[in-house]
């Protein structure tokens, strides 16, 4: 029996969809069977980020309304044999097209076949949000170090405390700009975690490569030697129960070989 995890934030644009795609891909790389569920109905993106946009036949609303069977709607990511699937959102309707019970039923139907069901939550705290948390066993809250994102994350944690899931929510701090955090222009990781009062699951640095790769429909986590990729892989390992130390905020001194390379380039 797999675990359903909702990925939410309250605020839009903090990286819910990117994180869902990358954590899911990282888990699939570790050999887990993962289904990604897009609940951002009407404004679906998860399929685009994964590069599966063209393969969608049926969507979640078709399944909920009985126009398609669940296995028919699942889009398989061929890069991972049969370990990564997407249940796409509908694009022609809106968030009120689903009810909490329908979502719960679909999640319950997926859980026996997968190790993880990751639910990509829409922004906001309206029906779409309620649908997304309805079937979940656990929640991951995404926030950036920006104060507006922190406020909304706080609001969402409050709502989750009133409708508790099986597990306490955990926090991912996304889009950390090292130099800003080092200079104290934004709240640092400890401050943020302490303020929100929930457990930290991981931190992700800001990197242009995230946008570049998702534009090609390839999650960044497929890259090697990228700090964002490492961040998401660490998060996947922590979800699996491993103890992985947090990445350092400080810019590391260039190592011997890096210096050599730079020296050679200059020469």
């Amino acid at each position: 029996m797999g675990k359903a995890i909702v990925i939410t934030s309250g605020k839009g644009g903090v990286g819910k969809t990117t994180s869902t795609a990358n954590i899911g891909t990282a888990l699939a790389l570790m050999g887990k069977k993962v289904c990604l569920m897009d609940l951002d109905i009407g404004l679906r993106n998860l399929d685009v980020v994964l590069g599966l946009e063209n393969r969608i036949i049926y969507d979640i609303v078709d399944v909920a309304d009985g126009r398609a069977k669940l296995p028919q709607a699942l889009v398989k990511d061929k890069r991972f044999e049969d370990r990564l699937y997407l249940l796409p959102a509908a694009q022609t309707t809106d968030k009120s097209a689903l009810t909490e019970d329908q979502v719960r039923d679909i999640v319950d139907e997926l859980k026996p076949d997968f190790d993880y069901v990751l639910i990509d939550c829409p922004a906001g705290i309206e029906q779409g949000f309620l649908n997304a948390i309805a079937g979940a066993d656990a929640a991951i809250i995404i926030s950036t170090p920006e104060i507006s994102a922190v406020r909304d994350a706080d609001r969402v944690v409050g709502i989750l405390e009133q409708h508790p899931l099986e597990e306490e929510p955990r926090l991912i701090i996304n889009r950390i700009r090292r130099h800003m955090m080092q200079e104290g222009d934004v709240m640092d990781v400890d401050e943020l975690t302490h303020h929100l009062g929930i457990e930290l699951l991981g931190i992700i640095f800001d990197d242009d490569a995230v946008i570049a790769t998702s534009n090609h429909g390839e999650p960044i986590v497929l890259e090697d030697n990228n700090p964002v990729s490492t961040g998401y892989r660490n998060i996947a390992r922590r979800l699996e129960g491993e103890t992985v130390p947090l990445m350092k905020i400080e810019n590391q001194e260039p190592g011997f070989w890096t210096k050599m390379k730079q020296w050679l380039k200059r020469g």
Binding site: R151, D152, D154, R155, G158, I159, E161, H195, G197
Partner: protein
């Protein structure tokens, strides 16, 4: 069985209505008693006689109280000072308990959450930006407040807020409210917010409490 008993004590005259008598019997006996008293030399001499009515372990309905008052109105020299009972309704008791109770709160009030209570609050938790703590009584806070505190809701201006308020967004007492901007207040857990005689929300320190609110000062054990 006597339904109405006239008693005299140092506070004046008291009419005790027997709790096991029916209300009809009480009214009959009461009228008879008033008729008898009317011609009593003491009441002829006195300009006005006022009675306290005790209903023992019975609570009169407002209809019944009105009947007694209407009866008394027939006798210009007599009046009812007050009608009281030895008991109260469960609802009243709860209300009183709520109002007198000091609620101990140690949870986190997050953005968008609002806690509304009756009575005084001893607050040990944290209020995040956008969180609200509202009560009819006083608020004594040793927690971290970055949201809104409202004492004396909706309109009792004699209530106050004690605690470190320098990080709060707003402080409200009764109908008065104040936006706490940067550096308006010092970081001091003994800050008191109260409404002064000019109906302006003002800040003081705990050691000025005796001047600010002598009643409260006495109640929390000062002399």
């Amino acid at each position: 069985m006597q339904a109405v008993l006239l008693k005299g004590n140092q506070n004046g005259y008291q009419l005790v209505l027997n709790q096991s008598a029916s209300f009809e019997d009480i009214m009959i006996e009461l009228e008879a008693l008033f008729e008898k008293l009317k011609s009593d030399p003491i009441s002829i001499e006195a300009s006005k006689v006022s009675f306290d009515v005790l209903t023992e372990d019975r609570i009169l309905q407002s209809e019944e109280k009105k009947q007694i008052e209407d009866l008394t109105a027939n006798y210009p020299k007599f009046s009812i000072h007050k009608i009281s009972a030895n008991v109260m309704t469960v609802a009243d008791a709860y209300f009183l308990k709520e109002r007198e109770n000091v609620h101990l709160i140690s949870r986190t009030i997050r953005n968008g959450q609002e806690i509304q209570l009756k009575g005084d609050i001893l607050f040990l938790g944290t209020i995040h930006e956008g969180g609200k703590l509202i009560t009819t009584g006083n608020i004594f806070s040793i927690g971290n407040v970055a949201g809104i505190l409202h004492a004396g809701f909706p309109n009792s201006e004699e209530k106050l807020i004690l605690g470190d308020l320098h990080n709060a967004q707003q402080v409200r007492v009764g109908e008065q409210f104040d936006v706490i901007d940067d550096e308006k207040l010092e970081e001091d857990v003994q800050t008191i917010a109260y409404v002064n005689d000019l109906h302006v929300l003002t800040y003081g320190s705990l050691n000025e409490l005796k001047q600010i609110n002598p009643k409260l000062y006495n109640r929390i054990g000062g002399h």
